[in-house]
């Protein structure tokens, strides 16, 4: 494999620069390079500083049980556009420690914490290595292949107990306490003190300045959430305050955690599709899109033309629905209770009506399949989309624009708040409107086109101030661009089949790996799927844009007022179903 004729020039440079510590991946179906963990930091800094790979898209791990091997996988891109660099570090399963890349790419902070949490890999040099999603007392690291939950039934679906001699059992009936929580051995609920909170508070209190000048200043730790209307779900921000000023802030997440990735590894490939709906529940069509194109990469198939158009139409309608809602609820966070958000919801409602008649469900669409879509769209629905896109939505978006953009209160509360410079936004691996509001015109539909986006005419919207107001404006601009895309697709949609081959319930996916990404409403939604040729994926990882965008939340909030933290979170536009997965 080392004699590849069309070897990526960056790979060739890397091999000459680090001949001892790098080798090409040789397994069939796999790409990228294997790095020795001792030289990982050198290779990463070389790539970042000399080669321009400034954007660390995702960090994840793969468990090769029963082999004694864990793989840590890094996906790197350039924000100026171009292909992927995939690096892998192999380590043993027992007490693994590898160097942290967080000092180089701060965007890896939460992702490395997630790997520690779910795989038990320690990262040397990580500033704050605690569990991210699970509680500190949790027993084991659940994404490891040999970890089993209480009342474990089988490793993979379909379960043998369902057919031909069916006997389903309710798990909670097996447990005397009617739950299925697992506690560590020797766990004593009376003497147990949750450590997670103490470590957060300790971390915050360590940031109290020693010298406060002539007069004494009290500092206060305030928890915003988890049950607070401004956090858009169950999300907690622990903030250290001096008066109204935020000195330090730590997001605490995981309240909605259900281990989506473990569920995904037990499901067959097709069974996973409805689960992707439930991740970012405001933009299920985009989630379907990302998962479908990733598995299609592994399968090596392409959907027919009509299906591509339908996919793009649905994804853009989703973007409009999601952005209108985001704008509406940003105003809710500013204190303009419900009038703007209900105006926004009216338009979203009409888009959901279209989803309902196309896919059968308003939010949990489950519309995409590998190689196409589930069902064709009727003439009638197409006419409705046309009417909505050409007559109603442009007018209503202009209304929203007139209503809010020049409003003095909105401007005072949003301008100059939560500023993220372009360099910071890239370093924190932000994506979507956050990144583009900071002056980086990075839109995957343009820099790494998928589906038919290379044929469609649209602009990448970006602004330069990097504050909350610019994020709002970028979303407004993107709605207009989505309408532009939709008008083209409605005019150009061809007749024809909507599925390549026949939709199968057991898809034979060849062994290999694929990283597919789409520009979702919240940013870069990436799926990393590894198949070993079995009916279930060996590894199924989601690069959740909401979660990675919250990495920079502390940076944006520190130095500002506590009331602005709520606005900043609103402008990040988190969906907790996706943050916690």
């Amino acid at each position: 494999m080392t004699e590849q004729p069309n070897l990526d020039p960056t790979f060739a440079d890397l091999l000459t620069e680090f001949p001892q510590s790098l080798e090409l991946e040789t397994r069939p179906g796999f790409v990228g390079m294997v790095v020795l963990s001792s030289t990982l930091i050198d290779v990463m800094s070389y790539l970042r500083d000399k080669k321009g790979y400034d954007y660390l898209s995702s960090v994840t791990a793969v468990d090769d049980f029963p082999e004694d091997k864990l793989e840590i996988v890094y996906h790197l891109f350039k924000t100026t556009g171009g292909g992927i660099i995939e690096l892998k570090v192999f380590t043993q399963r027992d007490e693994p420690v590898i160097p942290s890349v967080t000092p180089l790419y701060p965007g890896a902070e939460f992702q490395e914490r997630e790997i520690w949490d779910l795989y038990g890999v320690k990262f040397a040099g990580h500033p704050d290595l605690r569990r991210l999603l699970l509680w500190e007392g949790f027993d084991g690291h659940p994404l490891r292949k040999d970890w089993k939950e209480p009342f474990f039934e089988e490793d993979v679906k379909p379960y043998k107990s369902r057919w031909p001699e069916g006997k389903g059992v309710r798990i909670e009936n097996l447990n005397p306490y009617h739950d299925n929580v697992q506690y560590p051995r020797n766990f004593d609920p009376n003497s147990y003190e949750p450590d997670a909170d103490r470590s957060v508070y300790k971390l915050l209190e360590s940031k109290i300045p020693a010298d406060t000048g002539d007069f004494k200043v009290d500092h206060l730790v305030v928890n915003i959430g988890p049950q607070h209307p401004s956090t858009h779900g169950v999300f907690r921000m622990a903030a250290l305050l001096e008066g109204e000023k935020v000195l330090a802030l730590k997001p605490v997440i995981g309240y909605l955690h259900r281990n989506h990735e473990k569920i995904g590894e037990r499901n067959t490939f097709v069974q996973n599709m409805p689960f992707t709906d439930r991740m970012d529940y405001l933009s299920s069509m985009s989630n379907n899109f990302g998962y479908a194109i990733t598995v299609e990469k592994l399968l090596g198939i392409k959907p027919p033309e009509r299906a591509e158009y339908l996919r793009v139409m649905m994804a853009e309608l989703t973007r409009i629905a999601s952005h209108t809602m985001s704008i509406g609820f940003l105003l809710n966070d500013l204190g303009a209770f419900f009038t703007p958000s209900l105006y926004a919801l009216e338009e979203r409602e009409l888009i959901l009506d279209i989803f309902e008649s196309v896919a059968g469900s308003r939010m949990m669409c489950n519309y995409f399949r590998f190689g196409g879509v589930v069902r064709d769209i009727s003439e009638d629905t197409l006419k409705r989309i046309k009417k909505l896109v050409e007559d109603r939505l442009p007018k209503k978006i202009d209304d929203l624009d007139h209503y809010l953009t020049d409003n003095e209160i909105v401007r005072v509360r949003c301008e100059g708040i939560g500023v993220l410079t372009a360099e910071e936004a890239i370093a924190y691996s932000s994506s979507g409107p956050i990144l583009r509001a900071s002056g980086v015109p990075y839109d995957i539909r343009k820099v790494d086109p998928y589906s038919i986006y290379d044929r469609l005419d649209f602009d990448v919207c970006y602004r330069t101030h990097g504050d909350v107001y610019d994020r709002y404006l970028v979303r407004l601009d993107e709605i207009r661009q989505s309408l532009r895309i939709l008008k083209q697709t409605i005019d150009q949609i061809p007749e024809g089949p909507i599925m390549t081959g026949k939709s199968q319930y057991l898809v034979k996916v060849p062994a290999g790996e694929a990283y597919g990404r789409v520009e979702g409403p919240r940013g870069e939604l990436g799926f990393y799927v590894v198949s070993d040729g079995k009916p279930n994926p060996k590894r199924y990882h989601v690069r959740a844009p909401s979660m990675i965008n919250t990495t920079s939340l502390e940076k944006m909030c520190v130095g500002g007022k506590i009331a602005d933290a709520v606005t900043i979170l609103g402008a990040v536009d988190v969906v907790l179903g996706e943050v916690d997965r």
């Binding site: 679906k157 379909p158 379960y159 107990s161 369902r162 057919w163 031909p164 001699e165 069916g166 006997k167 389903g168 309710r170 499901n267 067959t268 097709v270 069974q271 996973n272 599709m273 409805p274 689960f275 439930r278 009038t339 105006y343 009216e346 409602e349 009409l350 009506d353 309902e356 008649s357 196309v358 896919a359 059968g360 469900s361 949990m364 489950n366 589930v374 069902r375 409705r384 009417k387 909505l388 007559d391 109603r392 209304d399 007139h402 209503y403 809010l404 953009t405 020049d406 409003n407 003095e408 209160i409 401007r411 005072v412 939709s503 319930y505 057991l506």
Partner: protein, 190 residues
């Protein structure tokens, strides 16, 4: 910062407020029927239990089993207990026991028992999509609230069964297409 933006914004809310009355008084008959549709102006919502929105044909909740009535009033289920729905179900909420010949003990076509745990069912419609016999279909009846959970939410076969006429009523377009396909398939054998 002269407050003009604020006034402009408030003018919009006033317009929105009055347009409801304008639509109701001058919109002629049927103006109420436009609420919640693309043509809506002003008030958008409808008064739920009294009115309800039109359900599109593809709308889906909880699967049901299609049967035809036999001569003696017995239910002839289309289900052959092939097990594809229970294999493809993402939440594994379907379980089936195959019918057995009482004399030989060998499995025969048809299901002895068929259960769906509707607490687990997530209405994804995958079972109906992959059923090769058009035997399991998604329902339209979304009023399924009950006072208890637990055993009452495991639907047995007789509760899941609905007549073919009901299916033809809720999904006329799909029904026509599928019946034509079934007829075409049955043709060469005769």
């Amino acid at each position: 910062m002269n407050g003009l933006g604020l006034v402009k914004g408030l003018a919009l809310t006033f317009k929105h407020f009055f347009s409801t009355y304008v639509a109701d008084i001058f919109g002629g008959k049927g103006s109420k029927g436009r609420r919640g549709t693309i043509d809506a102006d002003g008030l958008f919502t409808i008064q739920y239990p009294e009115e309800s929105v039109v359900i599109p044909e593809e709308f889906r909740v909880i699967p049901f089993l299609v049967y035809t009535l036999g001569e003696n009033g017995q239910r002839n289920y289309r289900c052959t207990a092939c097990g594809i729905c229970s294999k493809v179900c993402p939440t594994q909420c379907i379980w089936i026991t195959r019918m057995k010949d009482p004399e030989t003990g060998r499995p025969i076509t048809g299901s002895q028992e068929f259960y769906i745990d509707v607490d687990k069912c997530m209405n994804c419609g995958t079972c109906a999509e992959f059923c090769p016999f058009d035997a399991i279909k998604m329902d339209h009846d979304y009023r399924i609230a009950t006072y208890t959970r637990g055993e009452t939410h495991i639907y047995p076969k007789h509760q899941l069964g609905k007549p073919l006429e009901y299916y033809a009523k809720i999904r006329p377009m799909n029904y026509t297409v599928e019946e034509a396909e079934r007829a075409a398939k049955a043709q060469p054998r005769q």
